[in-house]
């Protein structure tokens, strides 16, 4: 794929419209890499002038902060800010709600002030601006439920952009009983993704997957690579791999538009 880096852009004296912040999961995790590529396809399709940091990208420090390591977080933040400001980045788009949240809310005080979009917000903007059109026939009437990522939903109040896009695809959008501000966490947040769960009688991702399964979906859509992992594992744990797919909204679009 053609994915320019900021360094290459700079060498050509160009400033891209947006920086696409890929994030650790989107860069290294096999499942999440598919989401990354799907989003790049959308950017290409809409002719968005973008770049990534590539090997200059580093952890936002978000997960260190939620784990309680404020020092490591701020070290990472300051290093990233130096790089970002060095490239005079104005707009950041990311498919990871955790990076989105920390850029938007926690970086400004440390000197990193950017216009920050979650990829679903950016896609919605592309559609609204007429830069991306959606074919609503491919997934017509497919049963889709949407799981709100905590750091996009409750943490930042963004419930509608993802839903708007899903509806545009002509699917049958089904709400779980716990949705939007009352949505249940997938279990990955607060650094849980990187450790074993504490002692309990159930896994959180299974509980959330059961919420989703009650809507009898064909697709569980989400907007976070960690939620994606958790729900995918939940689908496996409940033996539903044959009938239910877990997809990021970027993948839904890429699939339905044959990108």
């Amino acid at each position: 794929m053609n994915v320019p880096t900021m360094a290459e852009m700079m060498a050509q004296g160009k400033q891209p419209e947006i920086l696409f912040w890929v994030g650790a999961s989107g860069s290294y995790d096999d499942r999440a890499k598919k989401i990354t590529r799907a989003f790049v396809k959308i950017l290409h399709k809409a002719n968005v002038d973008f770049a990534v940091l590539g090997t200059e990208e580093s952890s936002t420090g978000d997960v260190a902060k939620r784990a309680g390591n404020e020092f490591l977080f701020q070290m990472q933040a300051m290093m990233n800010i130096e790089v970002l400001n060095g490239y005079e980045v104005k707009t950041i788009v990311t498919a990871d709600p955790h990076s989105f949240n920390t850029f938007k809310n926690e970086y400004p005080e440390l000197g990193g002030k950017y216009e920050v979009y979650h990829h679903t917000q950016f896609i919605k903007k592309l559609i609204d601006d007429g830069r991306l059109s959606i074919d609503d026939t491919v997934l017509k009437d497919r049963r889709v439920t949407y799981h709100d990522p905590c750091y996009l939903g409750r943490a930042n109040g963004e419930y509608e952009s993802p839903r708007d896009i899903i509806r545009k695809m002509g699917v049958n959008l089904l709400e779980m009983k716990r949705n939007k501000s009352t949505a249940l966490c997938c279990g990955a947040g607060g650094a849980q993704m990187f450790k074993d769960a504490e002692k309990g009688d159930k896994e959180i991702n299974v509980l959330r997957t059961e919420d989703a399964l009650k809507t009898k979906p064909q697709i569980i859509a989400t907007g976070c690579p960690y939620c994606n992992t958790m729900m995918t594992d939940g689908i496996k744990a409940t033996n539903n791999e044959a009938t239910v797919e877990v997809l990021d909204i970027a993948e839904l679009i890429a699939n339905s538009q044959n990108l």
Partner: protein, 435 residues
Amino acid sequence: MQYLPNILFAIILIVGIGFFVRNIRKIIRNIKLGKDIDRTDNKSERWRNMANIALGQSKMVRRPVSGILHIIVYLGFIIINIEVLEIIIDGLFGTHRVLSFLGGFYSFLIGSFEVLALLVLVSVIIFWIRRMIMRIPRFWNKEMKGFPKNDALYILYFEMVLMSLFLIMNAADIHFQELNAGNPVSQFLAPLFEGMSVTTVHLIERSAWWIHIVGVLIFLNYLYYSKHLHILLAFPNTFYANLETMGKFPNDKNVTKEVKLMMDPNVDPYAAPPEGEEDSVPEKFGASDVTDLNWVQLMNAYTCTECGRCTSVCPANLTGKELSPRNIMMKTRDRLEEVGKNIDKNGKFKDDNKQLLNDYITPEELWACTTCNACVEECPISIDPLSIIMEMRKYLVMEQSAAPQELNMMMTNIENNGAPWQYNQMDRLNWKDEE
């Protein structure tokens, strides 16, 4: 001798209010043990929150049944207390229904009080049924044993008795019943006293009157020991609540200073701190005891109503983990009370070899949290259990390096290769050619 009841009343009133004031002072002192935090910005939004959330109970009705019942009890509680004003004047000056000169308006007032009293009585009975017969799960989590469980019930019994006494007092007031105005409820109780001698009925009326007002004063003083403190503290608590987006966790300013020093090549790391800033280096990061928390967090602890709405939406608790955000608040309050009693006894805090961490809240609870903010979103009076969890995690990690092993590895990876997993940073863009 004629003034004996008035004097007696005055004494009871002074003692009752005196104790109450003393307790309130103690609470304020304990809350002030917390660290400073500035929550004076955006006054208009704060007033609005207080009006909507505390007074208007906007977040209560998210659960419609308990929400509406609670509003009835709350309105009843406030409005019927206007009647207490009359009772106090009557008690002090030996008058009887001193406000009755208001005529029709008085009948209207008392009439409304009676209707409200009946509604409160019914609501409180439904509350009791929800707790004890329907056994709604959030009232039966494991932290709701012993006093916390009884506390909730005592209050319900208190309300039942007080409301009944108010109605009996009116029903047994022969003169008042003869007016046959403002007695929409008590008129149906009045027949109970028919056939009794006038003296007996009068005695009943007087007893109900006295027990009612003494009950009110006891209730006032019971507040301090009870989750019912929220009827007062909900107001400042919603006023001083965090106004930021929930996803924004505060950046520790002291850490910022240190990190900036480390990253600035021109700074001499051994230079003496500039004048006036010598003391600004904190003695520790995060919180291991209540005095490391800020005063808003401590006020949160006193305000918690133990309703368990937070716990009933907590993903960790729902899957059987030790963590319960309600219990985080209850334990914080218990420890704060213990510290307060220690100060009462010794003049100032004497080390008791205990702290909030481990002796009250265990690392297992802290590490079960997904920082999902569901508890914060759910709390009807803007309490933030997550902020306490985060402060304590900070202490565990930054002061004790006591994170779970896997998290230590994750953090080492971030330090070494800029990702929570052990991958080569040079491979970060490999995804683009992998399909």
